[in-house]
């Protein structure tokens, strides 16, 4: 077991900056998810921790020991790769035993460790098969087994569920959570899927263009996104953004865009004062827009025409024309008939509004 500390870590390939100034402290037994779009530097960061990429600047410490110049084999880590990376010329049993044999562990201990890992992951009947004889899910279990069999200080996961179909991915997510309870080891999990990040992580690190945007628990990221990028990346469907102009209106601030205008009490939103006369971005999650009229002063109303409906069975998703933009509404009663073009009235609790300037949440 070990904590991991990244201090001012940079990675540069020639003139291309892949990762900029990452500072991150991961506690012992914590499960941290690095999430972001393709090319954001999350996999590069993971590979630097694994020792598969050299660090251009900064330090990485595992269990209090700086590992910058240690070979991957000397870092006491295990890693699961996106495409499983099983040794295709070896049986499952040999795949699991490979790491222990390299460390000259006695044969009876290897056999016991392999059996234990196989039992935990329910792959005992597969031990004598070759990787190409296994399904994607089975291969992923073997890859996990290869990790846990060595009992390393740290688990690293590089998009391990990306190659699985949606159903299997959901199942493997559950299995990973169960595995965490049985083998509570410090873990870093890289994914571009925000659902995986939200469901698996104790904490989530959101990255974009090689820069950490926000670090926090799933709920912190969902409820208090640091900037517009995090707000749009976390949550499904994605947050609605409407650009409005702020003006002072007595004891209120008036926010207006084409086709929509609402007022917010100045005493409750004092931070908007510094943006009077400027444009800001209002964000609201589709789940926080409710069909129906505003019930009190803490809700703001909007009207618009339905442009698209998406039936999901347990709910409907609506896209509603609002001025020259569009707003999406989730959680609509699936039995409600809303033909395209029909006018609807909706309300948003002001508590659920987020305000962003160009850089961050106001």
């Amino acid at each position: 077991m070990a904590d991991i500390v990244l201090s001012n870590v940079h990675k540069v390939y020639g003139h291309v900056v892949a990762v900029t100034d990452i500072n991150l402290a991961i506690k012992d037994r914590e499960f941290v998810v690095l999430v972001g779009p393709s090319g954001c530097g999350k996999s590069t960061t993971l590979r630097m921790i694994a020792g598969l990429e050299e660090i251009s600047a900064g330090t990485i410490a595992i269990g209090g020991r700086v590992v910058n110049h240690l070979q991957p084999k000397d870092r006491d880590i295990a890693m699961v790769f996106q495409n499983y990376a099983l040794y295709r010329h070896m049986s499952v049993r040999d795949n699991l035993a490979f790491g222990l044999r390299n460390r000259r562990v006695p044969a009876h201990e290897i056999a016991a460790a392999v059996s234990r890992a196989a039992r935990i992951l329910s792959i005992e009947p597969l031990l004598d098969r070759r990787p190409h004889q296994l399904s994607g899910g089975q291969q992923q279990r073997v890859a996990l087994g290869r990790c846990i069999v060595r009992n390393p200080k740290v688990f690293l996961f590089d998009e391990p569920l990306s190659n699985l179909d949606a159903q299997l991915r959901a199942q493997m997510r559950l299995e990973l959570k169960e595995l965490r309870l049985r083998v509570p080891t410090t873990s870093i999990f890289v994914t571009h899927d925000q659902t995986e990040a939200m469901t698996l992580g104790d904490r989530i690190v959101v990255m974009k263009d090689g820069v950490v945007q926000q670090v926090g628990t799933p709920l912190e990221l969902y409820r208090k996104p640091a900037n517009r990028f995090v707000a749009s990346f976390i949550g499904s469907p994605s947050m609605n953004f409407i650009t409005v102009r702020v003006s002072a209106d007595g004891e209120h601030f008036a926010l207006a865009c084409q086709g929509w205008r609402f007022r917010l009490p100045a005493r409750r939103f004092p931070h908007l004062g510094s943006h009077v006369g400027r444009s800001i971005c209002v964000g609201v999650r589709p789940q926080h827009v409710r069909l129906g009229a505003a019930l009190n002063d803490d809700q703001i109303a909007l009207n618009g025409a339905v442009t698209v409906t998406e039936q999901l069975g347990d709910e409907q998703l609506l896209a509603v024309r609002l001025g020259d933009g569009e707003i999406r509404i989730a959680g609509v009663d699936p039995d409600l008939s809303l033909p395209t073009g029909s006018q609807i009235e909706a309300a948003i609790a002001t508590d659920h509004l987020h305000f962003f300037d160009e850089l961050e949440q106001i």
Binding site: K73, I77, M79, G99, N102, R146
Partner: protein, 282 residues
């Protein structure tokens, strides 16, 4: 005239065929191609079984004999040439594979000035016409005192194989997921260990295909053998050519030697066919 209609019209005959008709068309085309390649071999075997006086009217004669085989196999130079060709082909294959495997791996996995320089070097050597190598190699082998010896023939062969087969080997390694080697490095291997214990076993189909191509190439090679060897190290392809001499042309003996030379090549090809197909498919 509608330009786009031209290819459609020319291919129309084929697409107008029913699926069964297309299969028959392909089968006939394949048989024709096979006959085209098989006919010279058939003629060669026929010639090798004819007496010396009958080789010019192979298609008419009815007299057949295996004396040609007895005669060539009783000549010491043919036996020595068989042995030398076998040894040179085998040694060149083993030594070339050792270098091309590491060279191909480097080209596939590493970036930087050294791989780039190596890449450029073998590219330049590939551009040099094959025949242009021969004269300089003759002088080099003379200077190094390895003319008409195993090394005198092996080293040029290995050099050519490195230039030509490093590319193919690079292709094999490109087809092997490098994550497997990363996993091995995390599992306790060094970079070299990951190459040796994980990448090389995964490349076995490719290596086998390359070994077969390498062996056949050396076995059939004529130009280097002609220029870089003399009486001490007779090579089969050269010995075969020597049946054409100032006193006449002994086609029957040449054909018999060629048929004998075909046998190992045929065995290697039949044994390795599936590996070659599997290896080149990676």
């Amino acid at each position: 005239m509608d330009i786009a209609a031209v290819p459609a019209r020319s291919a129309g005959f084929f697409f107008a065929l029913a699926p069964r008709g297309r299969a028959v068309f392909f089968a006939l085309a394949a048989i024709a191609a096979c006959l085209l390649f098989a006919f010279p071999v058939f003629w060669l075997i026929l010639t090798s079984l004819r007496p010396g006086t009958g080789v010019y009217y192979v298609h008419r004669g009815t007299e057949f004999t295996i004396d040609n085989f007895h005669e060539v196999l009783s000549q010491e130079i043919v036996l020595r040439a068989l042995f030398n060709s076998f040894m040179i082909s085998t040694l060149a294959t083993v030594l070339s594979l050792g270098v091309t495997a590491t060279s191909g791996y480097m080209l596939s996995r590493f970036k930087g000035p050294i791989p780039n320089a190596w890449f450029s070097l073998i590219y330049i050597f590939r551009c040099v016409p094959y025949v242009a190598w021969v004269l300089p190699l003759y002088f080099v082998t003379q200077q190094l005192n390895i003319f008409d010896s195993y090394w005198g023939l092996l080293l040029p062969h290995i050099a050519v194989h490195i230039c030509f087969f490093s590319w193919i080997m690079k292709g094999f390694f490109d087809g092997i997921d490098p994550s497997m080697e990363y996993a091995a490095m995390i599992d306790g291997c060094s970079r070299w260990g990951a190459f040796w214990r994980v990448a090389m076993p995964a490349a076995v189909p490719g290596l086998t295909a390359l070994a077969i191509l390498c062996w056949l190439y050396t076995w059939n090679e004529f130009l280097f053998a002609l220029i870089l060897t003399a009486h001490e190290t007779p090579i089969l392809t050269v010995v075969m050519a020597q049946f054409v001499h100032e006193l006449g042309m002994e086609w029957h003996l040449m054909s018999a030697t060629a048929v004998i030379a075909l046998v190992p090549a045929l065995i290697v090809t039949l044994f390795g066919q599936r590996y070659v197909i599997r290896g080149l498919r990676i």
